[in-house]
Amino acid sequence: MLVAASLVAGLGLFFVGLYFLTEHLKMLSGRRLRARIAAWTKNPFMGVLWGGVFIAVTQSTAATMFILISMLRSGMMGVRQALPIIIGLNIIAGAIVLVLVIDIKVAVLFLLGIAGIVFTNDRARAFRTIAGTLLGISMLFLGLSTMKEAVAPLAQTEWFEELLRWTQGSYLLGFAIGAAMSFVVQSSLAIVVLTIAFQTAGLFSLAESIMVVYGANVGSSLLTFVLCSKMTGQSKQIAMYQTAYNIIGAIILVPAFYLEIYGNVPLIKTFAEGITKSGGGQIATVNLIFNALPGIALFVVLRPCANLLERLWPESLEEQASKPKYIHERATEDPDSALDLVELEQMRLLESLSTCLDTQRQGGNPSRLSANQDASKVLGGIIRETISELSTRRKLTEDTYERLDRLLSLQHSLEAADQAIASLSKEFQALRKAQHGARFVDSSIEGLDAIVLTLIDVSKERSAEDAVLLSAMTSEDGNGIKSVRSAYLSEESGLDDTERMRLLAAANLCERLIWLFGNMGRDYMALKA
């Protein structure tokens, strides 16, 4: 029972940590930090090096993979930068045979404590985002560590030792058990270390140990595969690359093993025996070869791999939506052009509002709303940062300052509209269960979308005619939501009290959205002027 509870607790901590990490990396993902990361990983060799640094610090392929995925999702790096890092972390993981000399759990606990205190301290608000990121990392590690500790005793139990003895003479079974144990314990390194211990104790021959080591490495990839099974787009690309990494190693080395054992062809085993007489050293050598060989092969074909991954798991719509299409690294060198680009990006956010409403339609996919809004949040962060950089670093003309101010006001309104739609979505989902509530939901979506589409016309054409139409649609008099709300809240509507409360909340949110749309229309026309 304790093992199961610890496993579940560890899993919960892991996912909370991952969520915290991703959300705070998004906030940190400024253009400057992205530019730095892009510089650090600008060539594949640097990427491989950084991968080695990551695994040396984290000691966990799974944890490093999820940190990489979070960085990808927050826009900090692209797939092509991530692939060499994956190669690096695998190679160095193979080189470091860990006896768990450095127990990072103590460091993780300190980090958790300090990050938690800073995060919740009102006086340290300026450090909240960094603290949130560190809190995410420490909870992720604590989750993994809790799960590991939950199953660690298993490795010492009699039945486990008996299980390992069972594999003697059966290489394939040894491979399978290595894979299974690595999957459960979440550390191929731990299984490799155990295997060395068993080999040194005479429980395993070198040949048996080799297959357990191969299986252990494949098992950790399978873990990544399972944890990333629901991912799509670029996150899936790098998760599958890591999964394929060790499978490629197995595809090359397992047949080679059988060729060596049964065909008497001197290959990896012979090489390891030639390198050192120490059993542990031989296993460590084999482990390094297993981790390095796919890396060498894959390093040569980085670009074709990236293209293949893109074809198999294309960037999701949300990933595309989160990336700037117009703002680029040197955009702020010319303030007026930069503001043109900001406007273009904001129009994408505006169109995204219509997409968000579309997810709420009958037959729509409400679960896509949060993915859409996550993408908007990332893009919105980039827009805000560009505006902020322009306002603090550049000497601007009065006209440019005024324009910048309007665009900032637009950005506030876009973000407020996004939040209102998120809140509205919750009310809509509840209201859909009632007949009258469902009708209100459908009418609201169509009405709001019609206004957004008119606002998009205003943003693109800036014509007085469209502006007048929008103004009429969103005016206090034209805003028919009040009469609709009154009709539904009347006694004759047939709604019960809970439904009335929900409808009131939804109608108020609709009213807020209509007001925001009107505001944005005025901002756009002021920009034109």
């Binding site: 169509e446 009405g447 709001l448 019609a450 009429a472 649609m473 028919g480 609709c510």
Partner: protein, 110 residues
């Protein structure tokens, strides 16, 4: 969706039946544009038998209204049922178009 077209006293009456949504809007838009380009300037859109209108359907009306404004024409709407009326209310379309209870009322004063 069906659109029944008739002419009464130089006014073209389009009676919509069914749903005016993303699927059916392009066809409706085409018909209206064709009529406007053929020289028709005064329209009544009868929604008595329209079950549902989406934002795409509202856009059809908006585009037609803009086209007509340029040639001094007019588009009136009549016989909104509760469902369609609600969409008109929330979208603010009740301030943009003249809305009547029935076709005779809409014809009156044209």
């Amino acid at each position: 969706m069906q659109i029944l077209i008739k002419k009464t006293n130089e006014v073209t009456v389009l009676a919509f039946e069914g749903r005016l949504d993303t699927q059916t809007s392009p066809d409706a838009q085409q018909q209206l544009t064709r009529l406007i380009e053929a020289g028709e300037k005064r329209f009544i859109v009868d929604f008595e038998k329209l079950d549902y209108i989406s934002s795409a359907g509202l856009r059809v009306l908006l585009v037609a209204a803009k086209q007509l404004k340029g040639i001094d024409g007019e588009l009136r709407i009549c016989s909104l049922n509760e469902v369609v009326g609600e969409v008109f209310d929330i979208s603010g379309f009740t301030t943009i178009f003249k809305i009547f209870g029935s076709e005779p009322e809409a014809l009156d004063g044209f």
